[in-house]
């Protein structure tokens, strides 16, 4: 069954708190049209946003554009690592201090920390419905998504030759490239531990380690694949798409596994921490057709509202089948790091 929702993985999360068991990507096409910025009310007043580091410059461009469009609106921004900001919010709440009105996080785990602490304000139904049905949550709004992929060398392999199981790759003859020290890879291994168990994951890591070429980062993996140093690698989708954007004839394409950690998804998202219309209306700006298109075309992130094109080069999202997983658990990397160290990977 290939057409389960991409975002089903998020369905299992306690973050969501609402129906997520149906389709995600598959239902985007059936969702209501996205809203243009021209349909939104002007923002008036002042907000403080805690912004987790991500595509720094491009997020900043979005925030500046929103302020430029709303002369009566002032946005104070505190920037930092997403997890650290989440912890700050918790600490501030415990101390009875409230400084932030919004929290824009680059990963779902940090959003879970904040929503679990009871800091998130419910979002109105009309905002939730701007997102496609599979992406609708009462306490936070996804902004964009990303997916784990298998970049492969198109001169050496065809998509049909690539196993659709991440575990099966350990038994295949393909030459593999990976970046064990890379944070995204460690999140992927954490997902595998949660989905398959520690023993299976450890055995898989050992098997891959016996045959894989190690790179410093995941762009390096994609470049190694493109140069033919390895046949296939593990990386987030945007490295390959951005490489192809700069080098259209690059000998690399993307393959996807089926219902396992190899096609793990994660999302950036935003939480309203204050009551009132202003924080909610600010979130509406991030969900406009214009902002979603901008982040898809400039940052190669996956838009999560209807009728906005995905980044070019990404497979039809309705055909992807990511695993069900509580992404909040990805926040704790320590058991993964310990496992990887125990077999000499780090």
């Amino acid at each position: 069954m290939q057409r389960r929702a991409f975002i089903r993985g998020l369905a299992a999360t306690g973050i969501i708190g609402s129906g997520f068991g149906l389709s995600g990507f598959a239902r985007i096409a059936n969702a209501a049209n996205s809203i243009s910025v021209d349909q939104l009310p002007k923002l008036t007043g002042e907000l403080t946003l805690y912004l987790g580091r991500g595509e720094g410059g491009l997020y900043e461009n979005v925030l500046q554009a929103i302020q430029d469009r709303n002369p009566g609106f002032k946005l104070n921004i505190r920037r930092g690592a997403t997890a650290a900001l989440a912890n700050t919010l918790i600490a501030e709440a415990k101390a009875g201090v409230k400084r932030a009105d919004l929290f824009w996080a680059v990963d779902t785990g940090s959003i879970g920390v904040v929503t679990d602490a009871g800091l998130a304000k419910p979002l109105p139904q009309d905002l939730i419905q701007q997102l496609s049905p599979g992406f609708q949550y009462p306490l936070w709004s996804p902004v964009t998504g990303r997916i784990r992929t298998l970049p492969y060398n198109t001169d050496r392999l065809t998509a049909a030759e690539i196993p659709d199981s991440i575990l099966a790759l350990a038994d295949s003859d393909v030459k593999i490239g990976w970046a064990p020290a890379y944070a995204s890879f460690q999140s992927f291994v954490t997902a595998m531990r949660l989905l398959e168990g520690d023993k299976v994951t450890k055995d898989w890591l050992k098997a891959i380690n016996g045959k894989a070429k190690k790179y410093a980062g995941e762009l390096g993996v994609v470049m190694g694949v493109e140069r033919g140093e390895v046949d296939i690698g593990f990386a987030n989708h945007y490295y390959t798409l951005r490489l192809k954007a700069g080098k259209p004839d690059a000998s690399v394409s993307l393959a996807y596994t089926n219902n396992d950690a190899g096609c793990l998804v994660n999302a950036s998202g935003i939480v309203a921490l204050s009551d009132g219309e202003l924080p909610v209306n600010f979130i509406r700006y991030l969900l406009t057709k214009e902002v979603q298109s901008y982040l898809a075309s400039e940052a190669y992130e996956i838009p999560l509202v209807s009728d906005v094109a995905s980044p070019p080069g990404l497979q039809d999202l309705s055909t992807l089948n990511p695993p069900e997983l509580d992404l909040r658990k990805l926040a704790d990397l320590r058991p993964t790091i310990n496992m990887m160290r125990s077999i000499g990977l780090l």
Binding site: E55, A216, L219, M223, L243, Y294
Partner: protein, 265 residues
């Protein structure tokens, strides 16, 4: 104008990002660093004082064959000139630390007096070069060409600002390594990669993927190995200087790309 001063001119001329300094291992950086001109006499006195004190330690070693080399660090950490050069021109700051440890290690290793004195000469040269750099920075500061030193953390926002910040942090890596704070230096490399470089590499991939891959290797392999192998400050500095050249190229690419980027609305 000596070589170092020329470097300072180049540095200040392109200095666009806000300097952000937090409390460091040597204590809080106080407001004098934002009013250098008013303190130049004091800095000059301190450099003379340091020179005399360092000479005193070396003279004692030459006469008695032993000396308390830890005093070298204590003297250096006493002076305001320390934070003046640290905030204005980290490369010379690193050279001063390198000089201090050059003398200290020579003493602790029981080297001949001539060897220790040769190290002292290098240290004194670094001190006076540092004073020259601070004097030049004071002139630029008076003309409003040097951003105010912030005593609280402030994050860069645009791609070029991030590159500028990365370059400064890499200079600090050399400085921390020269201070023999190897773990601090390694952590700084790691944090700079995760908290800064990762945020801009996406945009850079489209522009020059090989340059990004090269820098990834520098951040994750070459520089950490240069630090962990404990070779020399010059070796670590050489790696950083190579990275700075690549980062300059990256900065130019990002500036051009941003000029042609489409607007959000």
């Amino acid at each position: 104008m000596n070589k170092i001063s020329k470097k300072v001119v180049v540095l200040l001329a392109v200095f666009s990002a806000t300097i952000s300094m937090k409390a460091n291992a040597n204590g809080e950086i106080s407001e004098h660093v934002n009013n250098l001109s008013a303190h130049l006499t004091e800095y000059a006195e301190e450099v003379t004082w340091l020179s005399d004190k360092f000479s005193g330690v070396v003279n004692e070693y030459s006469k008695k064959g032993k000396a308390d080399s830890d005093q070298l660090i204590e003297f250096w950490e006493e002076v305001d000139f320390h934070s003046a050069i640290e905030t204005q021109y980290v490369p010379v700051y690193a050279t001063i630390w390198q000089g201090i440890y050059g003398v200290k290690v020579a003493i602790d290793s029981g080297e001949k007096a001539a060897v220790v004195e040769a190290e002292l000469l290098k240290l004194k040269q670094a001190l006076w070069q540092g004073l020259g750099a601070v004097k030049l920075a004071a002139q630029y500061q008076q003309k409003g060409l040097v951003p105010k030193v912030m005593t609280t953390e402030q994050e860069p926002t645009t791609g070029p600002e991030v590159i500028d910040d990365i370059k400064k942090k890499l200079h600090r890596v050399v400085a921390k390594y020269a201070e023999k704070l190897t773990e601090v230096a390694t952590t700084l490399v790691h944090d700079t990669y995760l908290q800064r470089f990762e945020g801009i590499e996406g945009a850079l991939i489209e522009l020059d993927a090989e340059l990004v891959e090269d820098l990834e290797k520098d951040f994750n392999v070459t520089l950490p190995q240069a630090i962990s192998k404990d070779t020399s400050v010059d070796n670590v500095r050489a790696v950083v200087e190579t990275m700075q050249v690549k980062l300059d190229k990256a900065r130019s690419l990002l500036v051009k790309a941003e000029e042609s980027r489409k607007s959000v609305f």
